[in-house]
C-alpha cells in the first residue's frame, strides 16, 4: 500500500465532531481496531460526505456506515459481503440486530454500495483523526494496522468465512451495541432519567419505572450526531434472542417473485450488450475476421477486433449473440495448440525426473510409521480453474 498518511490527512482536514470530547479514545490495541472497522463516520472528506448523503438520501439516519435507522423504525444494514444464498447477510443482520436490540421484523439488509467511500482506507484514517481531532495521530499507528484496515476496507471481499468471523464479530456486533448505547444516551436526556434506568427491547428504549418508552425511530436523528463508543460491552450469549437461532433468510422473498437482481439484470439507459469470442487456445491471436455477416444482423452496431478476441456490440443480447455466431474468426494458436492434459503431466514427470520439482512434504519415517509394506499411490490433478465439483 503506497502510503502517505500525513499528506492525506492534511487534504482531508477533518472537522471536530460533536460529542468527541466525551469519549476516551484509545490508540493502540483493540479499541483502535474497532474504530477502524467501524468504517466511515462523518469525516470531512468529499467521499465520506457523498456516502453519508447517499445513505440518508431516502430518509433515515446513518450509524458508522453499516447501519441506518429510519424515523419509521426501519433498520437497514449495509453488508460489504456477497451473499449468493449462503445466508451470511442474514447472519450478519442477526449479529447487528441482536446487539442493537432491534425488532427483527423491521430489519432488512442491502449490499453496501460498491463505491470507494464504503471501502476506503483513507476514510478509516479520516475517521480516526476525526474522532480524536488530531490528524497527526495517524502517524502513531503502525503501518501494519493501516494495511490491515486497507485490506479490510478496500476490498469488499467475500471468502474464508470472514463475513461472520470478522465483519460480524469485530464490526457488526460492535456497531449494534454502540448504536444501542447512543440511543439510550439520547433517551436518557429526553426523558431526563439516568441512563442506567433504561433498558432496550424490540427497537424501543424503555423506562420501566415511569412506564415510558421511546421508539428508536424517534431517537435516531439525535443519536446519530453522537460519537459511538469504540468498545461497547457485548451481550452475554445467554441473553441472545436473535442470534443462535435459525431465522428465515432475508434474501428469500425477493427470490420467489423475480425481484432479486443478478448481474445480468442490471441495466442503464441506452445500454448496449456485447458478446465476445476469445482465441480458443491461450496465447492465440485473432488473425482475421470478416465482420460483414455480423453487421448484417439487425440490431448489431459494431464488431470490435481485439488482439486475441472479437466482440460484437448490439442493442440487445439476441442480436449480439446472433452476430457473434455469424462470424468465422481465425485465430492462431500461439504455439500452444499441442498442449493437453497428457502433455502437462509429462512435463511435470520430466521435471521430477530431472530433480527440478519442488517437494512440499517429506518428513518422518514412512517405514517406521507404516511397517514393512508402505502404501504407494500417485495422485495427479489436471489443470483446472478453481475447484469445480
Amino acid at each position: 500500500m503506497a502510503d502517505n498518511p500525513t499528506a492525506d490527512m492534511q487534504a482531508a482536514a477533518p472537522a471536530k465532531r460533536k460529542g468527541v470530547k466525551r469519549r476516551a479514545f484509545l490508540i493502540g490495541g483493540v479499541a483502535v481496531v474497532g474504530a477502524g472497522l467501524f468504517g466511515i463516520s462523518i469525516a470531512d472528506s468529499n467521499a465520506a460526505k457523498s456516502a453519508k448523503a447517499r445513505l440518508e438520501s431516502d430518509g433515515g439516519h446513518s450509524f458508522a456506515t453499516w447501519l441506518k435507522i429510519g424515523e419509521d423504525d426501519s433498520i437497514t444494514i449495509y453488508s460489504p459481503h456477497t451473499d449468493i444464498g449462503q445466508g451470511s447477510n442474514t447472519g450478519l443482520a442477526q449479529m447487528l440486530a441482536e446487539e442493537l436490540d432491534a425488532a427483527w421484523d423491521q430489519v432488512r439488509v442491502v449490499s453496501a454500495p460498491a463505491e470507494p467511500a464504503f471501502a476506503n482506507v483513507g476514510l478509516g484514517r479520516a475517521f480516526l483523526a476525526d474522532m480524536t481531532g488530531q490528524p497527526a495521530i495517524i502517524n502513531g499507528i503502525p503501518q501494519s494496522f493501516l494495511s490491515f484496515i486497507a485490506r479490510q476496507m478496500n476490498l469488499q471481499m467475500t471468502g474464508g468465512s470472514t463475513a461472520l468471523r470478522f465483519t460480524g464479530r469485530v464490526t457488526f456486533q460492535n456497531v449494534g451495541a454502540a448504536t444501542r448505547l447512543a440511543l439510550i444516551e439520547t433517551a436518557a436526556t429526553r426523558l431526563d432519567v439516568p441512563a442506567d434506568e433504561l433498558t432496550t427491547q424490540d427497537s424501543h428504549v424503555i423506562h420501566a419505572k415511569s412506564g415510558r418508552a421511546l421508539r428508536y425511530g424517534e431517537l435516531a436523528a439525535e443519536a446519530a450526531t453522537l460519537s459511538l463508543d469504540n468498545a461497547p460491552k457485548l451481550k452475554d450469549p445467554s441473553q441472545y434472542r436473535i442470534m443462535r437461532q435459525s431465522m428465515q433468510r432475508l434474501d428469500i422473498p425477493a427470490k420467489v417473485d423475480g425481484s432479486a437482481q443478478y448481474g445480468m439484470d442490471f441495466s442503464v439507459p441506452d445500454m448496449r450488450v456485447a458478446t465476445i469470442m476469445a482465441a480458443p487456445v491461450r496465447g492465440g491471436k485473432l488473425t482475421s475476421v470478416d465482420t460483414a455477416p455480423a453487421l448484417a444482423v439487425k440490431g448489431v452496431e459494431k464488431v470490435i477486433k481485439l488482439d486475441d478476441a472479437v466482440a460484437v456490440v448490439a442493442k440487445g443480447y439476441w442480436p449480439a449473440i446472433s452476430g457473434l455466431r455469424a462470424l468465422t474468426p481465425q485465430f492462431s494458436d500461439g504455439g500452444n495448440g499441442g498442449i493437453s492434459t497428457a502433455s502437462i503431466f509429462k512435463a511435470q514427470d520430466d521435471l521430477i525426473a530431472k530433480g527440478e520439482a519442488d517437494s512440499t512434504a517429506g518428513d518422518g519415517d514412512v517405514q517406521a510409521g507404516l511397517g514393512a509394506k508402505p502404501i504407494e499411490a500417485t495422485y495427479q490433478v489436471p489443470f483446472c480453474p478453481d475447484r469445480p465439483f
Partner: protein, 163 residues
C-alpha cells in the same frame, strides 16, 4: 410489424424481430428480468414462463409464435393486491432458494404442474420438474410443492440449512 400478445394480463404490442426468442423480449423489451437466462437451448428451465398456461422454455421460442397468446411470467403470479401465489408462499416457508437463479423457472414449472394435477405425486413431480438447480435445492422444491398442495403441512417448517 408489431406482435400482439398479452403479458401478465396486459395486452402489449411487441416491436422485436420475429425470430427473437421470447426470453429476450421479456427481459429486454419489457424489462421483466425475473425470467432468467441459463443455457439458451431449452435444457435448464431457468427461462420457464407460461404460454396459454403451458410451462414453456422461452429461450427457445421465437416471439412470432406467441402472437395472440397469453403469457405469464414470475412477476405475474402475485394477485392484483400483491398477495403471493400459494406456491411462492410455500417456497418461502420451506426456504427453498439458495442462490435463487433457477427459482423463477422452478416456480413457474411447479405452478403449471399443480394447475394440471391438483396434488402431484412424487412420480409426477419427478416427471414434470426437469428444471436444473445448480445449488441442488431439489429436496426442498419437492417439500414446497407438497406443502403448497396441502400434502404435508409439516413440510412448511423452515428447512435445514442447505449451504
Amino acid at each position: 410489424m408489431a406482435i400482439q400478445t398479452s403479458i401478465n394480463g396486459k395486452p402489449v404490442a411487441l416491436a422485436a424481430e420475429p425470430d427473437t426468442p421470447l426470453l429476450w423480449v421479456i427481459r429486454e423489451e419489457l424489462g421483466l428480468t425475473g425470467t432468467k437466462f441459463g443455457c439458451g437451448i431449452a435444457a435448464c428451465g431457468a427461462c420457464t414462463v407460461h404460454v396459454n398456461g403451458e410451462p414453456t422454455r422461452s429461450c427457445s421460442l421465437p416471439v412470432s409464435e406467441v402472437a395472440g397468446k397469453s403469457i405469464t411470467t414470475i412477476e405475474g403470479l402475485k394477485s392484483a393486491d400483491g398477495t403471493l401465489h400459494a406456491v411462492q408462499q410455500a417456497w418461502i416457508s420451506a426456504q427453498v432458494p439458495q442462490c435463487g437463479y433457477c427459482q423463477s423457472g422452478q416456480i413457474m414449472a411447479a405452478v403449471a404442474l399443480i394447475e394440471k394435477t391438483g396434488s402431484p405425486s412424487d412420480a409426477q413431480i419427478d416427471e414434470a420438474m426437469t428444471n436444473i438447480c445448480r445449488c441442488g435445492t431439489y429436496p426442498r422444491i419437492r417439500k414446497a410443492i407438497h406443502a403448497a398442495t396441502g400434502q404435508a403441512a409439516k413440510a412448511t417448517k423452515p428447512a435445514e440449512g442447505g449451504a
